[in-house]
């Protein structure tokens, strides 16, 4: 067996992908060039809601260097609609998005035409020459019925309503000592990966085959969808995943361009590349969050939680895209969080507006739900005169109560339970890390012109969604190992993590391992990367394949060396027998094809959990918040590569702080997006949040998978709004300020302080 000190799993191994990224030799889709390649640009609606009266492309077509201008009329037949990938509820079907607008536009940014030209610059020149006549309709920017309904089937613009729950919330509220109801909201924002989307589509007329490079996340699903739309067989299409500059949930879903660019390539029989520019990115890629909630809690006067009622309202934008209603469904499901609340009732209403459609962004629904609940808990604690740590300690689910069923909060999902954990221990660790005991006297204190606040936020976070993942391992003739996996790599270091898993099982040096991922050419079927599933599912599939391959290698070596398997070990790229005889892996692979397929199927979700704690100051005169200290403590079950997990956590905290203080897609009353540039859509920079810490624990491995992993990509973000907003609220409590809505921009905090002061002129 392996020498323990050589095991890679559990160690902060340097990443195998880094050398290429650091030397500028990564390969991103815009780096690709092909003979005869043309460039596409997309004419997007400049108006939020209108009938299209006419589209005149003749002037654009006459421009030198323009090869085609494709509109709905050129698609022929019925315009394909983007399918619902997750939870395909029949209620959502009428609201699905056509891949190109034919007679109506419903949001600013909706594709109307595709120009294909010799260069992107010429294509953009031609966009300006296309004349579209609109008949404007009134735009819808909020919840409720409107003059011009967006869809004929829903004159109130509501696409879905449901209620769910467990226990008897009505009885709990009727009998409680104390009840409080508040309304909260999280603003519309998006993930903003640094690489915008891009595709290169190549059509081979002779073989009638299509290759699309730039795909990611769920390539096999997207291939099925594309094949249907183009009336091709699945095997006639390959989706290729190369280096991807960040995903965070938004990239890789099936978007209109995932049809339009391949369509253009087939029509012109030329390679066509489309690289989304940042302006179109902000109006075209999925937006997210944009959830409001009316949340009520029923407690005993000692703070014991008895019941929770939550009504979630979600602005879905103009269409329901691939993610369906995941964002509001998860916002509702995670309202109770890690607390023992016996009676829970939730409702969800999704409504349509004239804005960019919504999809998932890192921690979908959880970021929002944790903010709503943890804010309300602090309000309850204040009302009841209980310390905010004590009220949490009292209500956290104990280890003895696990597994803890939280069935029935999503009507179309089966039963699920929080699996393993010690919520209280992790909570206490966070208190220790932030220095709660020494600092809690600072709450609300004004020191040198700024007010201090310390806030807490607890969470549980699901991961490792099934159904399945596949991997194939091949021992190459040079003794190196190739791993092919259906999981997608979007920059999170998955190649390294999967390599570590295989290296340990097969005793093959890390630098002799190559990881191929995502592409539909690699495997018959793959399931992709979302819901913090890549390590849990893909990692377990690789482990399964590696174990099988190990057996095959030993078997072949047994034949070669004439010794029984039980006497053989793999070491230093050789199989060595107890008697000292050995054969190299390369020799074995030359004798016989040595490969193995692995799979991992699992419908049981993992639940990581943790607590975030923030110490902030607020300048009450400017509204500026400074983070003095921030710590996120999470039990991820098992960290294959602690450095990668830590990096995920820190990165996610900063992304979350962006959602608290900066990221905001602002629309006016005509549903025009007002900040489609990075000068106006603000995200955190290096100087904003320099003092953050993440503590990754491996207290309670998951029992659902052989690695014990729980998924680690999202726990860093899900409680950021909760802890930070509680800290800001604690700082401003003496001024009579309560926090209900994000983002916490300086002008907004200033307004809250001013309004509180105007209400009670004596407060100081």
């Amino acid at each position: 067996m392996n020498n323990v000190s050589q095991l890679l799993v559990g160690h902060p191994v340097e990443r195998m992908e880094d050398a290429r990224f650091l030397s500028g030799s990564g390969l991103f889709v815009d780096d690709l060039e092909r003979d005869g390649m043309l460039h596409a640009a997309i004419l997007r609606s400049s108006i939020a809601h209108a009938d299209i009266v006419s589209i005149d492309t003749s002037a654009a077509l006459r421009m030198p260097g323009v090869h085609a201008v494709i509109t709905a009329a050129d698609i022929g037949g019925e315009i394909p609609v983007i399918p619902l990938r997750l939870a395909p509820l029949p209620e959502f079907e009428p609201f699905r998005q056509p891949v190109i607008a034919a007679d109506k536009v419903r949001y600013v940014g909706e594709p109307i035409a595709v120009v294909v030209a010799d260069s992107r610059a010429i294509a953009e020149d031609a966009l300006e020459a296309i004349d579209v006549q609109f008949e404007a309709l009134s735009a819808v920017t909020g919840r409720g019925a409107t003059e011009d309904a967006l869809f004929a089937c829903a004159d109130d613009n509501v696409s879905l309503r449901y209620s769910a729950g467990f226990g008897d919330a009505d009885a709990a509220f009727a009998n409680a000592d104390y009840v409080r109801t508040e309304r909260f909201s999280v603003q519309r924002h998006t993930a903003l990966p640094m690489e915008t989307r891009g595709l290169l589509a190549e059509w081979d007329s002779s073989s009638a085959r299509l290759i699309v490079t730039g795909a990611t996340k769920v390539t096999f699903y997207n291939r099925r969808a594309l094949a249907k739309m183009l009336d091709l067989g699945q095997d006639d299409i390959d989706l290729i995943e190369i280096d991807v500059g960040g995903g965070f949930g938004v990239r890789g879903e099936f978007y209109p361009e995932d049809f339009l660019i391949p369509f253009a390539a087939r029509k012109l029989a030329r390679p066509v590349k489309w690289i989304e520019d940042r302006r179109e990115h902000l109006m075209a890629i999925n937006h997210s969050r944009d959830v409001a909630c009316e949340l009520s809690i029923a407690c005993r006067s000692d703070g014991t939680m008895l019941g929770l009622r939550g009504a979630v309202f979600s602005d879905m934008g103009a269409y329901i895209r691939t993610n369906g209603g995941v964002v509001p469904a998860k916002a509702a499901q995670f309202l109770p969080g890690p607390y023992r609340i016996p009676n829970v009732s939730v409702s969800v209403e999704t409504f349509m507006t004239s804005k960019t459609p919504v999809g998932t962004y890192r921690g979908p629904g959880r970021f929002e739900a944790n903010f709503f609940r943890e804010r309300l808990i602090d309000m309850v604690a204040l009302d009841l005169g209980i310390d905010v740590a004590e009220i949490r300690r009292k209500n956290l689910i104990t280890e003895a109560e696990l597994p803890y069923p939280i069935d029935g909060l999503v009507p179309y999902e089966g039963p699920t339970s929080y699996d393993t954990g010690n919520y209280v221990e992790v909570f206490e660790r966070a208190l220790l890390e932030i220095g709660w005991r020494d600092k809690c006297h600072l709450q609300g204190r004004l020191i040198d012109g700024v007010r201090h606040g310390i806030g807490l936020g607890c969470f549980v976070e699901s991961g490792g969604a099934g159904p399945k993942e596949n991997a194939a391992l091949t021992l190459e003739r040079d003794g190196s190992l190739t791993i092919a996996v259906g999981s997608s790599v979007l920059g999170q270091g998955l190649e390294t993590v999967l390599g570590q898993i295989a290296a340990d099982t097969l005793s093959i040096p890390f630098d002799r391992i190559r990881v191929l991922h995502g592409s539909t050419t690699l495997l018959d079927e793959g399931f992709g990367t979302y819901h913090s599933r890549a390590v849990v599912m893909g990692g377990s599939a690789v482990l399964d394949a590696a174990k099988k391959l190990r057996e095959k290698i030993l078997e072949q070596a047994a034949n070669h060396l004439g010794r029984p398997n039980s006497e053989l070990t793999i070491a230093d790229q050789h199989v060595v027998a107890a008697n000292g005889a050995s054969v190299s892996l390369a020799a074995l692979a030359t004798e016989q094809v040595l490969s193995a397929d692995g799979t991992f199927a699992n419908t049981t979700r993992t639940y990581s959990y943790g607590t975030h704690a923030a110490h902030v100051t607020v300048d009450p005169r400017t509204g500026r918040v400074e983070i003095l200290d921030y710590v996120a403590v999470e039990d991820v079950g098992r960290a294959i590569n602690p450095a990668i997990v830590h990096g995920q956590a820190i990165g996610a905290i900063v992304q979350g702080l962006g959602g608290v203080f900066f990221d905001h897609l602002v629309y006016d009353e005509e549903a025009q997006l007002l900040n489609a540039s990075l000068a106006d859509y603000l995200v955190p920079t290096a100087s904003d949040f320099p003092r953050l810490r993440a503590v990754t624990l491996e207290l309670r491995p998951s029992l659902t998978n052989p690695l014990g992993a729980k998924g680690a990509g999202e726990g860093g973000i899900v409680a950021v709004a909760a802890a930070t907003a509680n800290a800001v609220a604690a700082a401003l409590t003496p001024l009579g300020v309560e926090i209900h809505h994000l983002p916490l921009t300086p002008p907004r905090l200033w307004r809250l302080i001013k309004d509180a002061r105007d209400r009670t002129p004596t407060a100081a």
Binding site: A121, G449, R451, T622, P747, W750
Partner: protein
């Protein structure tokens, strides 16, 4: 976001540059560092037929310090100012304000002349020019004219520059010894345009009273402006906490900001007061007990 079709020329003399601009009657645009113009072109918010690159014209990248004051050539970059240690003494207000301009890479290319010509209402350079009563040298086909900074900006991104004129120099009057000053701005993030900014300085006479106070604000109107009502209040008085609060109240009333996506007007108005309090307190070394 590719640039619209355009042509490019790089004249070697100032006269040639102006002749080209004049010959194209407004369809040509000067470019130097391009840090304001290039984003406008990328968004196709500007589409000149011709870019006239003045970035290598000789004799426009000087920082001269003399009894006449501080002369900055139009092609002086923010980085040039940052690296010129003399300015810490010769014009500390300029040095402090310019430290807030944009980011490292922009600072290597952005120029004094470009910033003045672009005239963003939240930009530091036009604000300092106005606060300091700078004189801006403008050269056109008919020769040279000197424009006082407070007459230079006409409104949002609009100046007295004709299409065939270029800024060549800005002269800040000499900085007096023992002058009291401070600069404060409030931006959402490091390097962003300020939501509001205040610059102030004054001299002290032998009686300890303020003489010749200058107070300028950026980011709270369609152009940078002087707060003469505040200057009049301060003139001849000695600074104390009460006077500071009085000045801040006047300042709030003197500005007329508008709402935008980053802040409501009332916030910017209040920030002018808050920042002026902080600026005057720092300049006068006075500890203010800030309410809140």
């Amino acid at each position: 976001m590719k640039l619209p079709p355009l042509d490019y020329i790089r004249p070697v003399t100032l006269a040639e540059a102006i002749a080209i601009l004049a010959a194209h009657g407004g369809d040509a645009k000067a470019i130097a560092g391009g840090q304001s113009l290039m984003p406008l072109l990328a968004f196709r918010l500007a589409a000149p037929e011709l870019l006239v690159d003045i970035g290598r014209l000789p004799g426009l990248r000087h920082i001269d310090i003399s009894v006449e004051g501080v002369d900055l050539g139009a092609l002086v970059t923010w980085r040039d100012i940052e690296r010129d240690a003399r300015l810490t003494y010769a014009h500390p207000l300029l040095a402090a304000a310019i430290a807030h301009v944009a980011h490292y890479q922009i600072r290597n290319r952005g120029t004094v002349g470009g910033s003045l010509a672009h005239a963003d209402p939240a930009a530091e350079m036009p604000g300092i020019a106005i606060t300091c009563d700078a004189l801006i040298t403008v050269v056109g086909p008919n020769g040279t004219r000197m424009v006082p900074a407070n007459e230079f900006c006409l409104g949002g991104l609009s100046t007295v520059l004709e299409f065939d004129e270029l800024v060549t120099n800005v002269r800040l009057p000499p900085w007096k010894q023992n002058r009291r000053w401070a600069f404060e701005e409030f931006a959402r993030r490091r390097g962003d345009f300020a939501l509001a900014g205040v610059a102030a300085f004054y001299d002290i006479d032998q009686n300890g009273t303020m003489r010749d106070p200058h107070v300028g604000v950026i980011g709270v109107g369609d152009r940078p402006m002087r707060l003469s009502v505040v200057e009049n209040l301060l003139e001849g008085k000695s600074l104390d906490a009460g006077l500071i609060l009085q000045a801040a109240a006047l300042a709030r009333d003197a500005v007329d900001p508008t709402d935008d996506i980053h802040a409501e007007a009332a916030y910017r108005r209040d920030m002018v007061g808050v920042l002026l309090e902080r600026v005057l307190a720092r300049a006068g070394n006075i500890v203010l007990m800030e309410a809140a």
